[in-house]
Symmetry: C2
Subunit: 467 residues, 2 copies
């Protein structure tokens, strides 16, 4: 598809088919200079911090130089609608996804190659018009390759990200409290053996570094994946390094020389291990909270799934032509409940509020806790008038239904609700924002009411943090 | 970083700074023709099947035409090292990731715009040299924008894929047997109400379509996400459509006209519902098998996590400089056990084989079931000589340890093992392949032995299906 597409783009662009001379001029430059082009590509990229990470290893350089040369030489020999040409670019995209080379680096590399060739043009015997034709051909061919490559890259990247996440959640889903105890034990095992080594009869036996212990290996090779990006990871790593590079050598010194500093050094080691233990507990605790798909208080869906669900529903609605609506519900003056009855009152009331909403919708709808006392409801296959009717019903239920307070008292609340119908825009942030603006208007107009989004409410994406 | 990089690339490419004339010529073409450029962009893209999906809605066309015009006009006004220029391109990349526009379409769009401008050049009063300068400037600026965009796009896409997968697994992790019963109930509820409607006193009351029932909604809006790509999904959808568009109208006809066909029509409806019930059971069963992170027989890791784990270990080894090795273990003549003792013997023996391997490695290593009787072991922070020693120990354990058979008998097995050390290549497929080649040599050389990968074994990626 793309090669056809591009063939015609080429003719469109030059107003006629690319002159035979242009292709031959390009082939000439590349045949003669492929190795120098590749060498200069590497010179530039090795100065580039991010790219150098991928290229600095000699094995890579050697092999990649080779394949880059081959790639360049084949580049203008094949016709772009050659299926082998397409297959080669796609394969490269798959490999790049596998080794996770950022795509912007690949595009930058392509620009480097293009500019390397363009720089050689003035030295050729081409006229200005011929140079222009060569530049257009060069650009089109390289761009086509980048498109084919990035298509494969995109698919590979999505798949990899999914499997990575599945593995991470799988690791977390293993018996996590057992894992926690077994790592606490591994840590204690190391410190015990360090102490035995120190005070036992082994004299100058070297102490095994904590980073090479079972605990140290676990931290780097398991915890790093399970607790991706957790704040406690780096500090634990830092303390382990401190133990291995500062505390253990200091203890070893006091044993061979002046022993007076020993008690203090051992105390510092003990403090370091306690600190690791504390951070370890934090790590496991944080994970439990993070992985919950539902808001623990209200049992409504966690807001982080909002993009996944809304964009899927939007694409279903786009394909099927079915209607799709969003309600944004905010409880009026909720702060007063917290102010008067404390957070336990607020929490109890909020739970009952969520139940009212959950009981009002169908099993196939989605209820999210969007903010403190704000809920977002996604109503599948629902037209605007039905969504407004439902919103009215929810609003009315609140005014009629008493909610319990922890002290046995009761209260009723009112809700302001904004309703927006999907209007075809593929970006869900616009839909959320439209409902939000309607909600804002309901508040402005005195609260305890339902407002529908105006067409102009659909004109901007949601608040920055909404997506 | 990229703007600097690119600034210098621009000078490298033309041999000097881009002539002022080139930029002004470009600005002139764009100022005058932005709207026509955008219009032709849409004309081309609307003929493009994949792109049309994203553009066909009038709302989108209207808004996107507008922003594309604005984007083009600002394009050569800003300096490329302008932070606002970069911020704008990154923002566009984020939006594209959010609405999941494939990146190759965006790149194709950029090529269309480039060629639209290039096509206008011959009509200008520029010389050939000036045209070449304009083309270079145009190309560089658009490429820079695409790089900035795709960097943001890539990050957004990865994050989205992770959240999508987390949501899918969260949905599956909900009480799935309860979900199954509740959807069976929803299906029966619909068919019961259809039958009551049919034989009850309501006369010509219209029958509610199954696709609009609670079950129908669940299938489209929940099951589609939970059971992504499951084979049973489409057939269920197909039967529901058949019920709504063929069977229900037929039943309605027999009630108003000739009633003789009624029993047969009702029988067909019953068969259709039974078929849905059967497919539903299949759907839930398949999910349980699919989501298991471990091989159910041997409790070793599922091979689908191989890319996630190996590529993470490779990047850890690259950063830290630590050694990293892979063992590929295959049991010799395993087929004989299945042939003689049947699959139950094979399964029992395989479980004990896996235990031998699992007991031989550390907690921080990874053991995968790679194939039928083939296991892959990833040994973190392990040098080649230690990996070979471990492989020897495993090989020896097999020759010494009797394995139980279901009939109370015993047998011993032997294993061939290939060992490969990470050599710096970022693609894990190469490492897996090197171990595989060494294993092959161990087989060739008479089995029950350990072979180490030769440098030349690292020269090709793994078998197609390995990654």
């Amino acid at each position: 598809m793309f090669s056809d597409q591009d063939g015609s783009a080429a003719s469109r662009r030059t107003g006629e088919t690319a002159p035979v001379g242009a292709r031959e001029a390009l082939l000439g430059i590349i045949e003669g200079d492929a190795e120098e082009l590749v060498a200069s590509f590497y010179r530039t990229f090795l100065k580039h911090e991010e790219a150098a990470n991928f290229l600095s290893h000699s094995v890579v350089q050697e092999r990649l130089s080779h394949s880059l040369c081959r790639w360049l030489r084949a580049f203008f020999r094949d016709e772009p609608d050659d299926t082998e040409f397409a297959a080669r670019q796609k394969h490269i995209g798959e490999v790049h996804a596998r080794i996770k080379i950022p795509i912007h680096l690949v595009l930058e590399g392509a620009s480097l190659v293009k500019s390397g060739i363009a720089r050689r043009l003035p030295a050729s015997s081409l006229t200005g018009e011929e140079m222009a034709a060569v530049l257009i051909l060069l650009d089109e061919r390289v761009d086509l390759a980048m498109r084919l490559m990035s298509e494969a890259y995109f698919i590979g990247t999505r798949q990899r990200a999914q499997v990575d996440e599945a593995y991470r959640l799988f690791s977390l889903g293993q018996d996590i409290s057992m894992e926690r105890e077994s790592q606490r034990a591994a840590l204690m095992e190391w410190s015990q053996s360090a102490l035995f080594g120190l005070f036992g009869g082994q004299g100058n036996a070297t102490l095994k570094p904590i980073s090479a212990s079972s605990f140290g290996l676990w931290l780097r090779h398991r915890a790093g994946m399970m607790f991706q990006g957790a704040a406690a990871l780096d500090p634990i790593e830092g303390i382990m390094q401190q133990i291995d590079s500062v505390l253990l050598p200091k203890i070893a010194d006091t044993r061979t020389g002046d022993a007076s500093g020993l008690p203090q050094a051992v105390e510092r080691l003990q403090a370091a291990i306690e600190e690791i233990n504390f951070l370890l507990a934090e790590l496991f605790q944080g994970a439990a909270a993070l992985e919950n798909g539902r808001d623990p208080l209200t049992r409504t869906l966690n807001r982080r799934f909002l993009p996944s669900i809304l964009s899927r529903e939007i694409s279903l609605a786009t394909t099927s032509g079915a209607a799709f609506c969003v309600l944004m519900i905010d409880i009026d003056h909720f702060k007063r409940i917290n102010d008067q009855g404390g957070h336990s009152a607020g929490d109890l009331v909020l739970r009952q509020i969520a139940d009212v909403i959950l009981d009002s919708v169908r099993q196939s709808d989605f209820v999210f806790r969007y903010g403190g006392e704000e809920f977002l409801v996604a109503l599948v296959e629902t037209r605007l008038e039905d969504a407004v009717r439902l919103a009215e019903r929810i609003r009315k239920t609140f005014t009629e239904q008493s909610l319990r307070l922890p002290d046995g008292g009761e209260l009723t609340v009112t809700a302001s609700i904004g309703v927006a119908a999907f209007d075809g825009h593929p970006d869900h942030a616009y839909l959320v924002n439209a409902a939000d603006k309607a909600l804002y208007r309901a508040k402005e107009m005195g609260r305890n009411r339902v407002e529908t989004a105006l067409p102009s409410d659909h004109d901007a994406p949601a608040r920055q943090d909404a997506v």
